[in-house]
Amino acid sequence: MLPSLVWGQTARTVTGKVLDETGQILAGAGVMLPDGKNGTVTDIGGAYSIQLPAGAEVLSFSFLGYETQNVSVKGKDKVDVVLIPEKNNTLNEVVVIGYGTARKQDLTGSVGVVKMSDIEDVPTLSVDKALQGRIAGVDIVSSGAPGESSSINIRGARSITASNEPLIVVDGVMDAVQDISEIDLVDIESISVMKDASSTAIYGSRGANGVILITTKKGKSPKPSVIFKNEFGVSTIARTLDLMNTEEFVRYRNDFRELDSSSSESLPTYDAADYPNDTDWIASITRPALYEHSYFSVSGKAGKSSYYGALSFTDEQGIVKGSGVKRYSGRLNLSHEFTKWLSVNMNLSLFYSDRDVNKAQFGGTNISNGAMYLAPVIGLLDRSNPIYENGSLINTPYASIKYEEYFCRTPGQNYSMSIVFKPVKGLEIKSQNSLGRMVSDTFHWWPSYMPKKSSGEGADAYRFNRQNRRLGSENTVSYKTKLPSGHSIDALGGFSVYSTEYLQQSIRAAGMLDDDAKWNNFASIGSKENYSISSASSRILRMSAFARMGYSYKNRYYLNFSVRADGSSNFARNNKWGFFPSAAAKWSIKSESFLRRARWLNTLDLRASYGRTGNDDIPAYRSLQAYGTTSTYVFDGVQAPAFSLSRLENPDLTWETTDMANVALETSMFNRRLNITAEAYWSSTKDLLLNVTTMRTTGYSSRLSNLGRTANNGYELAISSINIDKPKFGWSTTFTISHNSQMVLDVGHNDYVPTVKSPGNINYMMYGYKAGYPLNSLWGFEYGGTVKSIEEYMENLDSRQYGYRENYTSANCLGHSRYVDQNHDGVLDQKDLVCLGNGDPLVSGGLQNDFWFGNFKFSFFIAYSAGGKMYNYSELYMAGSAYSNQYRYMLDSWHPVRNPQSDIPRAGDTMNAMLPSSLQVHDASYVRLKDVSVKYTFPLYKTSKTFKSLSLSLSGTNLLLWSPYNGFDPDVTSEVDSGTLRRVDMNAYPSARKVVLSVQLTL
């Protein structure tokens, strides 16, 4: 394969190799003579040999996606060339899509591609934590605790009870991971996020929430590539709360005592001098935490085989003492081409995570021992919280950290093997079979000397074991052809089967005699009555058949159809099968003759799609009637087993159905230096799997139904530009902005469906669904300030403008909070609840900036969100409550002498605050300097045969945050399991600020 032309006697031969920027060989690179007519390509080893005519001194080297270089070969026989990737051109990039790949220019659906180079320097255990703000329309929130999963929403939430989490497919296997954090970021070759229904409908009943496709790395070059990477860093709490200290708190308590007539008898007058403690509870349980990540990989290609093997270890301590996670993972990806028509791929991955679960309570409903709520007068290891009046014993969060042991070990394995036949050109038959197993083992131990325990009570121990086994088979036949007339066809058909089995068991023993054996000797229990044991199992089987047909004409007109039929055992007998079609079209306008002259314009594409997807993500057996089993009432001194009502049958239970339409305009201009993608979408979801609250008179508190409708629509804009592109200096920017609005259209015969309710003995909806309101509406009473005069109070008896949470009289009404009595019926009740705002931001997104100065790279990423509202749940207990520490602003609360005009409720406004109102609602907007990194790469390949490069980088995450929210962080959620709820700050783990130094050596 060395075509050449001989130009007379003076011709000579030049040989050499073409490598990429990392030193990997480039096979098939073009080597051209300056005339542009004659040349050759490099062979599979990257080598070329070309005959030069006399006088030729320059060769042009080119490769798809790389900058073409003209290299002088004057007087040289051997010339090796390193090509640098073309910064601007992403069009030829191959994008992974469902059951295949496509060139980016051929995509008809909405697929967001994560630029791996943007996140490769982000020091994080879990890749999802690096993604927030980077792909328009993808919202990621997490609890902040290391090793705990994040909640990902693609284009908002549409389900109310069922999950809103996207389907995650790793190397073609569904559910290969329980959580993205099982994969080391460095192992990842590409991440594609499928956003519209035409891209996800091929995943049928699993696709409604979008699909994230992760592809891991493979060996590429004949020369082995070896990478060592080491990261080391420190994280600290990013923000703390503005709470009272002892002196301020004592003043508050004295105000409370003075103002509250009913309790003044029993309350002492506080004197700061009596309280030696001035405990900063948040500080007492947090720490600077270390981060370490080591990674080692070998990859390459040997003849017809390619290999990629990697080992990694990550140790991420949590900023809360005693929490953190260690992850060990190994991966081996092998492929071999036996013949031209038969090849085999094997992917093996193992991981093991050892997570120290956070033992400290911050807030939430842990009123008697949450760190935010504990008064500063309480000592670190005190056994009771005097403020919480009833004197029950407590474990302070400090004591929990000090004494408890609580960790979770999760080993997992995934094996998959695929066989690919290519009997004739364009036809590919592939069968991929996989098996996976994951075990989760939880250990929790409370020693007998925990402060809350009484003498003789003994230690408590808990073991929980859950495992799941998954067998999967994906089988496809695809055919691609391009006719000379310009018609191309790309067809795919297949079927898949997944069978998953879950097993779990737990045992908890209270009153173990032996403190030393921990959970290793459950037989040492004092009384067998005190075991609580549970076991359960479930099996889910899913079968599917699917097909896709793509057609294009001269890269100008594209059509794409897909369909999937899904059967799931998760659904009731009357509804086992579902059918999910989609269609998409694209018009490459730039290819039309009327735009041919617009040289500034590189591409202009218009695409539109429509499709239907489903969501079956609810626990197994929900359609069947069931009794619960419980150990219960005492007969003859022992607790007899009992069957209790658990749920009623629903033979019609089925998946939710989402219809989504998407239009997009994509353009690239000015020599591809400015790329813009604008998209709009409309989706509507019906037959919501809805946990409907039922009246307690019916014997059940809720039931799962297919009821209701929601609608989403939104806009996304992504702009990337190369602002400066000089040989020694470059600057590029990527900006995303998205808006998603989600509405509840119908919640069946419910007036409303609460998702978070206020604590206390009547539970008002704080977050919930009501037809005609945004999905993430915040509900509560409208705060009406304080009662400032008795006249005001008396007047209100007639006008009924305000209601109170308790019955006040003219004698004791002053300074108490009041709420707008919306219907003026004189009673403050459910009917006075109003929508206090939307939890979803108006717009959100991010801004990435990259700069190059020679071998320096500097980049920073800003994530932002604007317009969302959020409850500070802790204020429900704190603002004026008699039981907890207070935010410092309570020093400005109403007082008859000092502050008679204040609208902040008086000290001890109520014993049981807990009435959700606009008083606790805050603006959750923020701008965050999320990632910053500085990196220097030593191009070692220039001087060394062994080493290719060494790079050093310093990076930081979450360095700065601007937000009016007064909690730890507006972008956390404690409800990671509920994909619907975004940003609910109930006992959420505070977010960390991290700075990491990284060294990477490439051989």
């Binding site: 014993l393 009484s454 069931a626 014997g699 009547i762 019955n807 049981n912």
Partner: protein
Amino acid sequence: MLLLLSSCSLDENMEGFATRENSYDTFAEAQAVVNNCYRYTSFMTTNFGLMTEACTDIWYCTTSTVDASLKISPTQPGAGSAVWNNCYTAIASCNEAIECITNRSSLSDSEKSQLQAEARALRAMYYYYLTNTFDGVPFYLYMVEDRETQDRIQKLPRTPANDIRRKLYQDLKENALPYFTKENGLRARPSEIKGNRAGYALSLMLMAKFAMWYGNWNEALEPLNELEELYGRLDEENYPLDETRWSLKNTDESIFEVQHAWSTTGVQYSSSYGRLTLPSYDGDGWFNGVYMPELGENLASWASLRANYHFAAFRAAQQAEGSAPRLSTDAQYTSSIFGELPLTLTGTYLPNDGRYAVELDEDRYGSCDRRTQYAVGLGKLSTEETFSSVRRGINAFAGPKLWCYGMVSSYDSNNYKIFRYADAVLMMAECYAMKGDLTRGVRYLNYTRVRAGLDPLSAAGLDVSGLLQEIRDERARELAGEFHRKYDLVRWGIWYDETYKYTNYASLKENMRPCHQYYPIPDTECALSGYVLTNDAYNE
């Protein structure tokens, strides 16, 4: 792949959980469904005690819990929501058990009839508490078969309470009583039944209670007479007064008691009412100035239940601010239900207390009502130490009858004797009084009086209202703290006036309104019913 396909079935795997179809094959399984019906008595806890006892003429409690000061409203239903939720969950469980055992099980007829009768007795009890608490409530006796049934129930309006009571009286009479027989051993006192399961005695008691609520004295006497036949004569020999203590479990006098057990390392099924009925805790084994470590360790310090002056008054001494201490001149011995407490002023001035001390008067124990020892906490009787607040002349605590010994934190392992024979005897007295049969009325009243060491009353010189007043006061003395007082007062129609008149708790006096005789249905439930259910009394 082939293996996978061959095992392909989209049916759910039914292993591993119980269903209506597979839970009635054996007696033990069916009984497990009935067992569950007992569980919902768990609403009887501290706040229920506040609801039924602390807002009455005899007790008060200064806890901040809304029930104690009646700061309740539809949006703040306090303990009412626990009563509501538990009772209805229990009723659905009972209905399920009755229907499935009767019509869907493969048990023998005798097994079926006895189990379903037990469930009927429990169902009636839950409706008893619902109607007592809320007045009229949604009423249904059928199984929640499916979602359509649920939808129908959600639209049920309030059924007048007395209609419910009449229907349940008949239901128990026809469908429960006949199945508790001598042959199956269930026509017996619960103390004689294995597991102390509910049945015959509870059914009779509830029938009598229902009939008294709707004022049919003959219908009430019918089951009461059967109870008398079963229990015999109430006197110290058959039913010692000492055994009325809640810490003694399943004594002969018991008709129904909620079973509890708690030990640090053993069975843990308990409540927390006991913490309310103990004297205030100073720590380290000291209770209001008296060392009684036997009461427990690591106790939570709660506001205690206290006697109103009307119930048991002893105001020993007072000291006006800034003046010299002086002996009290306004001791209210005479107006209290319990009469004079067996305490004597000593004249010893206690500078720390700012009060004169009192001593327990041993001699007067013999002559006074023995129930003062049990119902009113005066101190440690064996060492004659009085609680310091009694020394200070403040209200008495609840007495040893309701104390739980060996408490840890707030775990009260006492059985709650919510129905016992003395109650039935006093109900007979009341029924005869209401029928105008003063002789029999006094006879039954005297059974409890005599057992308590009081002289029997004579019918001579008493009219009906005089006798009724005696019975009302006697019920206060005999059943104090046992979750009856408010229901009795409401049934007599005097709850608001008597409580307003006698409560010592200013905050309660300030907040209470006549509508509070019944609790509001939780507003969230009204909303779910589409406001078929309302709390009209609370909107006035």
